[in-house]
């Protein structure tokens, strides 16, 4: 097999792959993608799981350890056969949340945490680096197999240079097809097509060699079985711990390996493809594994002692002069190595740019106080640099470890590393109680333990960790030895590391989640993730904020590209019924925009960018809570309004009552005024009339005198009336000046009787008194009080209609109150009029006869009220009876004292 022919074939194959990728991308842009993304393509793309380690290493593994290599493929089989449980939910969540990588999944679930994104990215990069180195080693080794055959032809450059060329070429391919643009879904159609082609080549190559071995070299399956029984690997040791442990590990790896997440979840075009992949992928794995043991057995048989079983797939056909088959096998191995590197590079670059570079840019931009310019270009540049960086790391690792046999175990070491993400991932999908703190603790513990017990020791004792530590433990602490933690010795190092790292990881994850309280964003995302199958999710997140549509458009253009962003905004505007490019900033729109952007730059970065524009870094869910607060305030406000309304109703009622009273008073006033004018007019009329008469010349002198007397009387009457009115008004207004003095009640009554005697003097009244009871000293306004007595006694003299009138005056003392009763023996006052007599101008009999205006009792009542007392009519005393009650000692308030 001429070496240069091999080189040519290799280059032609690579060119073919480039063409496939290019065409597929073109078709994707043109929109005629559907047939390209059939379930078969999806299933084939999943085969990046089978790397050169499978293609070459499985045979070596089988030759050394029997059937244990099957564990690597049985785990994923179980996961896929049980897709309904985990994979389906994983894909659904990722689609709904526009997850772009496994770091994005963890970060997004636990509150869009940038820190978690960084940790997961670190774990993945650390684990993937040796894996990439392994692929480079395999390719270089396979080249060297062919090169050793040729005496002439091209000199094989040393292996390191080969590896370098391969790495560079892969970097170029990945950059070209992995970073053409920022697809909203982070889907790389060209790359996936190329991977699918490589998967087919892989399968065909291995199966071809297998078929060759079973049916051409051997005599069919029966012969193979015989050969197996006769070979050195007829019997094998199953280490139960490793058997179960590796199956679990590979099952975890199929979920958490970045490249697997990329093709399985991110590049998934249709959820229904999972249905096919659930059986088709295990079938692929079974087919790849089927011929491993036969090849190993035949190789051990035919090939010379000591040949590297890892390369049987190549060396066996070569030894049997099957050059074409050998080249096919070479291409298969080449495919398996390169597909892994390409997809891993894309996955890692996405993670690094979204979770390490973007947050740095955002933080930097914030501090600088201006928008980052043309974000899209920056992100793409970051991606490309990340790809180059990842390749460089892989190459560096390869040259450092010198391609030793230690690399063979690298795959499993990487598996344990990425398996640390499993607890956080399963918790993210199924446990609402999982919190960011728990995930952080678990991941860091797992990562650290993995580094300490497996990764660093893999450099050999003394490589990174000094020999001392291995033997005695760090600082002499025996139970912290990297390969015998807690003194548990004798465990297989891989199992030991896996057990301790995952145990501590899960324990801290669980404890941390149970003991901490998640932020509102975590709870929102938790509900969204765990209830991914429910149709209705929690309410949308962005409050209106202060975002301007134009600002959002500018930012979107920077990420999605001008045309795409404009089209997107326009669509939304049209949906809202608006013309032009700027839709209203509704919460729905902002949600959708965030989801769209997170497809390109990761959920955490998209969220942060919109937060920047929407006004402040406040999480929108807190805005939701503020809205809830507003509602509470509104309810409080409306309750207050109700109370005010009640008050208003009450006030209106009071006003109405007051109005009624005022109207009444007004009526009373009118009546009063009309009565007064009537009372005043009567004497005035007399005076005028008589004075007119007197003006006549021929009036006899005695008539004159009589008329003059009448005028005089009427004038006095008028004056008296006016005095009474004035008195009454002063009393009613409460501005009367009271002068306090002490006097004997007996004296007061004497005086009153004497003064009242001038009323109807012709009537002879018999006065009955009890002088004993009248010996009381009264402190009050004595004159006014006496005036009341005079009034009452005068009334009695005026109106008592008994034949032999008797007036009895009874004095009684009750505590501080004195009661003076004036009882006559007339006919009394009718019941209906008993309240009326105290009203102004109220006269029960003809006014002219009584000679008063009817104000007497009204004045008495006012006076008594001013003196803290009362005057009332007492019925049932056998005649008219008036009771005057007053305190013995009148205490005036400050403002009333004279």
């Amino acid at each position: 097999m001429p070496f240069n022919l091999l080189i040519l074939a290799c280059l032609a194959y690579v060119a073919f792959l480039f063409a496939v990728a290019f065409l597929a991308d073109r078709r994707a842009e043109a929109g005629t993608l559907p047939w390209l993304r059939s379930p078969m393509v999806y299933t084939l793309s999943l085969s990046v799981y089978c790397t050169a380690w499978t293609f070459y290493g499985a045979v070596g593994y089988a030759a050394r350890s029997g059937l244990e290599f099957l564990t690597i493929y049985l785990g994923p089989t179980l996961v896929f056969v049980g897709w309904w449980v985990i994979l389906r939910k994983l894909v659904r969540i990722a689609k709904a949340q526009r997850i772009t990588s496994i770091a994005d999944l963890i970060s997004s679930r636990y509150g869009k945490s940038s820190l978690l994104g960084v940790v997961v990215t670190a774990i993945c990069v650390t684990g993937a680096t040796p894996y990439i180195a392994l692929q480079l080693q395999s390719v270089a080794l396979s080249f060297s197999v062919f090169a050793s055959d040729t005496p002439d032809g091209w000199h094989l450059p040393d292996r390191d240079t080969t590896a370098l060329w391969v790495a560079a070429g892969l970097a170029l391919f990945t950059v070209l097809f992995g970073t053409r643009n920022l697809d909203a879904n982070e889907q790389h159609h060209g790359v996936v097509m190329a991977i699918a082609v490589e998967a087919a080549v892989k399968l065909v190559a291995l199966v071809a060699v297998g078929v060759f071995v079973v049916w051409i070299v051997a005599d069919g399956p029966a012969d193979i079985v015989t050969r197996i029984d006769n070979s050195p690997i007829a019997g094998w040791q199953m280490v139960p711990g490793r058997w179960a442990g590796l199956i679990f590990l590979s099952a975890a790896a199929i979920l958490t390996l970045p490249r697997m997440f990329q093709v399985l979840v991110v590049e998934n075009a249709d959820e229904r493809h999972l249905t096919t992949a659930s059986w088709a992928f295990p079938l692929y794995l079974a087919a790849m594994s089927l011929f491993v043991v036969p090849i190993a057995v035949v190789g051990l048989d035919i090939l010379p002692e000591g040949s590297n079983p890892d390369l049987f797939v190549l060396t066996l056909p070569l030894a049997l002069d099957q050059g074409g088959l050998a080249m096919l096998a070479f291409l298969g191995g080449f495919s398996s190595a390169t597909s892994m590197v390409i997809v891993a590079a894309i996955a890692l670059a996405t993670m690094v740019s979204n979770h390490v570079v973007m947050p740095l840019i955002l933080a930097f931009g914030e501090r600088k106080g201006k928008e980052p310019g043309d974000l899209r270009r920056v992100v793409l540049l970051a991606r490309r640099l990340s790809i180059a960086g990842v390749m460089a790391l892989g190459y560096g690792y390869y040259t450092l470890t010198g391609g030793s046999g230690a690399l063979a175990a690298t795959g499993l070491i990487a598996f344990v590393g990425v398996a640390q993400i499993l607890p956080a991932m399963l918790g993210a999908m199924f446990w609402r109680g999982a919190t960011r703190t728990g995930a952080l603790l678990g991941l860091c513990a797992g990562y650290g333990l993995w580094l300490y017990t497996l990764y660093l020791p893999s450099f050999g004792q003394g490589g990174v960790i000094p020999v001392q530590v291995f033997v005695e433990g760090p600082w002499g602490i025996g139970w912290l030895r990297p390969e015998a933690l807690f003194g548990i010795d004798g465990m297989d190092p891989l199992l030991h590391a896996m057990f301790w790292s995952l145990a501590m990881n899960t324990l801290l994850f669980g404890l941390g989640s149970l003991l901490t309280f998640p932020s509102p964003m975590e709870r929102l995302q938790g509900a969204r993730f765990v209830q991914a199958f429910d149709q209705s999710g929690p309410a949308s997140s962005w409050a209106r904020g202060q975002a301007e549509a134009e600002d959002l458009l500018v930012m979107a253009q920077r990420i999605m590209g001008e045309d795409v962003a404009l089209a997107y905004f326009q669509t939304h505007a049209r949906v809202q019924g608006k013309d032009g490019y700027l839709p209203d900033i509704t919460p729905d729109f902002m949600n959708d925009l965030e989801r769209r952007l997170s497809g390109s730059i990761g959920a955490a970065a998209a969220h942060a960018m919109i937060a920047q524009i929407a006004g402040g870094a406040a999480v929108s869910v807190e805005d939701l809570m503020a809205v809830a607060n507003e509602t509470a305030q509104m309810m409080e406000y409306s309750a207050r309004l109700e109370a005010q309304q009640d008050e208003l109703t009450r006030t209106a009622r009071q006003l109405r009552e007051a109005n009624e009273k005022l109207t009444q008073l007004s009526v009373q006033k009118d009546a009063f005024l009309s009565q007064i004018s009537h009372e005043l007019r009567t004497p005035m009329t007399s005076i005028r009339a008589f004075s007119e008469i007197m003006m006549d010349d021929d009036v006899p002198p005695d008539l004159n005198a009589r008329y003059a007397r009448i005028i005089h009387d009427e004038a006095i009457r008028l004056t008296r009336l006016l005095d009474d009115l004035l008195d009454l008004s002063v009393l009613e207004s409460g501005t009367v000046q009271l002068s306090l003095r002490s006097a004997s009640l007996h004296d007061m009554l004497d005086r009153a009787l004497h003064a009242a005697g001038s009323t109807r003097p012709e009537r002879a009244f018999t006065i009955q008194r009890d002088p004993q009871s009248e010996q009381i000293t009264v402190t009050s306004d004595i004159d006014r009080l006496t005036q009341v007595f005079i009034n009452v006694i005068s009334n009695s003299r005026k109106y008592c209609d008994a034949g032999a009138p008797v007036l009895r005056i009874a004095v009684r003392r009750k505590g501080a109150q004195i009661r003076v009763d004036f009882i006559d023996n007339g006919s009394g006052i009718a019941k209906g009029s008993q309240a009326l007599i105290f009203e102004k101008f109220a006269r029960l009999t003809d006014s002219a006869q009584a000679g008063g205006a009817g104000l007497g009792l009204a004045i008495c009542r006012e006076i008594m009220q001013n003196l803290d007392g009362d005057i009332s009519y007492v019925p049932g005393q056998g005649g008219a009876a008036f009771r005057v009650a007053f305190p013995m000692v009148l205490v005036l308030p400050e403002n009333r004292r004279t």
């Binding site: 896929f80 019997g235 179960a244 295990p282």
Partner: protein, 88 residues
């Protein structure tokens, strides 16, 4: 408000599809168990195991799992959830 009650007796079609989904969930567990069963045959340390026999057993099991998945997958479908129910 009380959530709407789940019907006690569902149509046979829905019942069947639910049982099929249960089968889909049980299948990996069953597969896992069967894959680990070889541990019981010849506990480690007790003489060598036959590569051929174990290999045949595992590949037959593998084929059976694939077949079961193949048969189940299209029938799982997506019944629209009844009102008030979540996907089970």
């Amino acid at each position: 408000m009380k959530p709407p009650r789940q019907p006690l007796f569902v149509a046979p079609r829905i019942y069947r599809s639910r049982r099929l989904r249960d089968a889909a969930r049980i299948l990996p567990v069953l597969g896992g168990f069967l894959v680990l069963v070889p541990i019981l045959w010849d506990p480690a340390g007790d003489g060598a195991r036959s590569t051929a026999r174990d290999g045949i057993y595992l590949f037959v099991l593998w084929g059976a799992l694939i077949l079961a998945a193949r048969l189940l997958a299209p029938r799982l479908g997506e019944d629209p959830p009844a009102p008030g129910q979540t996907e089970d």
